[in-house]
């Protein structure tokens, strides 16, 4: 098992379930990341997606009944890679957004970190 290389990266976390957000934060901190967030509300997530300098993001698809897609769009426009996390399947993605990566809940933390590290490596975000 190789350690996902995320050290020194700024990673934004959007997750409305507090306990899950805390777990993601701890795991990212362990991997040497600086966590931006977590944001539990769509409005905060969209503002952060537009303004925060981040290298990547973990986005829970469903935020208390609201879809996180506006935040994902904002990140995509800025060229920031992100990984969607969801209890729903891929079916939920808009037809023209099938290229977005989704990790199903319940996830293995290492899968999330590795996929995210991969995305960040392939598409370094402009600061």
């Amino acid at each position: 098992v190789t350690e996902p290389d995320l050290a020194g990266r700024r990673i934004m976390v959007v997750e409305d379930e507090m306990l899950i957000a805390m777990m993601l934060e701890l795991a990212l901190a362990d991997a040497g990341c600086h966590v931006v967030g977590p944001f539990g509300r769509l409005s905060d997530a969209v503002v952060a997606a537009r303004t925060e300098a981040v290298d990547g993001a973990l986005l829970d698809i469903n935020l208390a009944g609201e879809s996180v897609f506006p935040a994902a769009e904002a990140l995509e426009q800025r060229g920031v890679p992100f990984l969607l996390v969801s209890g729903y399947g891929r079916d939920l993605l808009p037809p023209d957004r099938r290229h977005w990566q989704v990790c199903a809940k319940p996830f293995r933390m290492n899968d999330v970190l590795e996929t995210l590290a991969d995305l960040v490596r392939r598409q370094p975000a402009p600061h």
Partner: protein, 241 residues
């Protein structure tokens, strides 16, 4: 749509009979069913992730297997307790008092003389109920280990009130321990207190204050309270004050 031949008395086909059946309601029912199944799947997966989160984080702070086991199972049962209150009431807003009683019941006798619950009827929507349930569980567990309930004369008083206007109501809730060993402010910030702080800020959008007086710990929570009365069809008569 159904098409059947129309036969005359001599059995010759004399036309066709076309019947239209409106299947809208069947399609709607099917769609509704699909939605329910999707939502159930989503909730189960989310809940499993929450359980994994609890296990992961409880494990970090655990000093031994016994320590982990009681802390982890205690938290799971606390979650299950509030779920029981919520499912009993069909996932409608539930009285704060019911949530408190459910979470405190395992820690007190049937007619406790060392516990006071005092406050008006206040209905909590499910998210807030789960957050309050988790907070109370952490407090009562802590009281047993280090606080008032670690001594035979210790007692706990829980009071709450609603403040502000009808549009902007704040629920102020306090947990006060007395009669325990002299309180020493904790030196390390454990998962329990982090959990309380994060629950209050993240889930309740509120504030929490810990007051470590020598005579006993007092914890005060305040959070925006959305009145849940008139719109709730299951409880038409219980609009909170």
């Amino acid at each position: 749509m159904r098409i059947v031949p129309y036969r005359a008395a001599d059995d010759t086909v004399d036309g066709a009979l076309i019947t239209f059946v409106d299947v809208t309601s069947m399609v709607q029912a099917e769609r509704h069913h699909r939605l329910l199944v999707d939502e159930l799947n989503h909730r189960v997966r989310n809940m499993l992730t929450v359980v994994i989160s609890l296990a992961t984080q409880t494990l970090r702070g655990a000093r031994s297997l016994d320590d982990f086991s009681s802390a982890f199972l205690g938290r799971l049962h606390a979650l299950a307790g509030t779920y029981a209150v919520l499912t009993r009431d069909n996932w409608q807003p539930v009285p704060l008092r019911d949530v408190l009683q459910e979470e405190l019941r395992p820690h007190f006798t049937a007619e406790p003389t060392n516990l006071v619950l005092d406050g008006p009827l206040a209905l909590l929507e499910p998210r807030a109920a789960l957050a309050v349930g988790m907070t109370v569980h952490e407090l009562v567990t802590n009281a047993h280990k280090y606080g008032a309930l670690a001594s035979p004369n210790g007692r706990v008083t829980v009071r709450w009130r609603l403040e502000g206007t009808a549009e902007h109501t704040t629920l102020v809730w306090s947990w006060q321990e007395r009669g325990g060993p002299p309180v020493v402010p904790p030196t390390r910030h454990g998962f329990g207190s982090t959990l309380i702080e994060r629950t209050v800020s993240h889930e309740l959008n509120g504030l929490v204050a810990f007051d470590y007086r020598p005579e006993g710990l007092t914890v005060t929570l305040s959070f925006p309270f959305a009145a849940q009365g008139p719109t709730s069809t299951a409880r038409p008569s219980v609009a909170p004050a």
